[in-house]
Amino acid sequence: MHLKELTLKGFKSFADKTSFMFDAPPSVSAVVGPNGCGKSNIIDALRFVIGEQSVKDLRGSSLDEVIFAGSSTRKPVSLAEVSIVFDNSDGHLKTDYSEVAVKRRVFRSGESEFYINKNLCRLKDIKDLFLDTGIGNGAYSIINQGQVDQILSSKPEERRAIFEEAA
């Protein structure tokens, strides 16, 4: 099972629909560009679409802060949408589909909508889909900027969560 595509629209600085296509393993990809151009926003988008609940881990103080707020040349938009497509030919994701698309939208009200293959569903369904796949919450599969040392500086009891994810 591997990632095929990640698409951002109205998410943070990605005002326009932008798609990233990924190669199957073996694969090392680098995201590059100047300070502030939007690289970490892509990481935030990935967390967001797999069901991140903590706005702090998305660097905001409320969920609507991930919606494109406008710039000196553009007006704000009213919703942010991120979708991710997986190749599921090996059935690693608990669903019969060989290709699985997960989408999440958030509106100015702060409400989220979730979709699996275009069907509206609940956050719980997303969590269940990713259960035991190593993707849940990105515990050790997504490392945010400035967070790499965190496992070393956190208290021994706080560290458990990341090891429990692996158990």
Binding site: M21, A30, S40, L46, S71, I151, P156, A166
Partner: protein, 154 residues
């Protein structure tokens, strides 16, 4: 559940010792459970770079801490593989030699997982087989300007 967790910790520990010693070219490191109920107690991490003594993690240098934390992350991935691993500037504190060791590590893990790194380092970029260039030509609006597939000779 208790047994499962204990076994996981043992396996992560084995992988951690190996990845650490390989990244640090020597030295040793362990994770272990502290006193008490395995389902609740804390997890201890100790590390000793080659030639140095066992000192608290806080005394380690910025680069040493990054490498130690990267070792833990990869030992978790080796224990329980995930389809992808996205890392945002985890090489920021690494000098040139350690950056090269880091790129060897990610190439090894990319066999089974898709590795995506955000980086400013040319060394790390040279390890990639695909590059996504992000820019902001229009103020405040991000744009993907290139998705290059690069065949990298080792």
């Amino acid at each position: 559940a208790k047994y499962k967790f204990l076994r996981t910790i043992e396996e992560v520990n084995k992988n951690f010792s190996e990845v650490f010693s390989s990244l640090f070219e020597g030295g040793e490191a362990r994770i272990s459970l502290l006193e008490g109920d395995p389902l609740e107690c804390g997890i201890e991490i100790v590390a000793r770079p080659s030639g140095k003594k066992w000192l608290s993690l806080s005394l380690m240098s910025g680069g040493e801490k990054s490498l130690t934390a990267i070792s833990i992350m990869f030992s978790l991935i080796r224990t329980r593989p995930s389809p992808f691993c996205f890392m945002d500037e985890v090489d920021a504190a690494l000098d040139e030699i350690n950056t090269i060791r880091f790129t060897k590590l990610i190439k090894e893990f990319s066999q089974n997982s898709q590795i995506v790194v955000v980086t400013h380092s040319k060394r790390t970029m040279s390890a990639a087989s695909a590059m996504y260039g992000v820019t902001m030509e229009e103020p405040g609006v991000s744009k993907l300007v290139s998705m290059k597939l690069v065949k990298v000779a080792d």
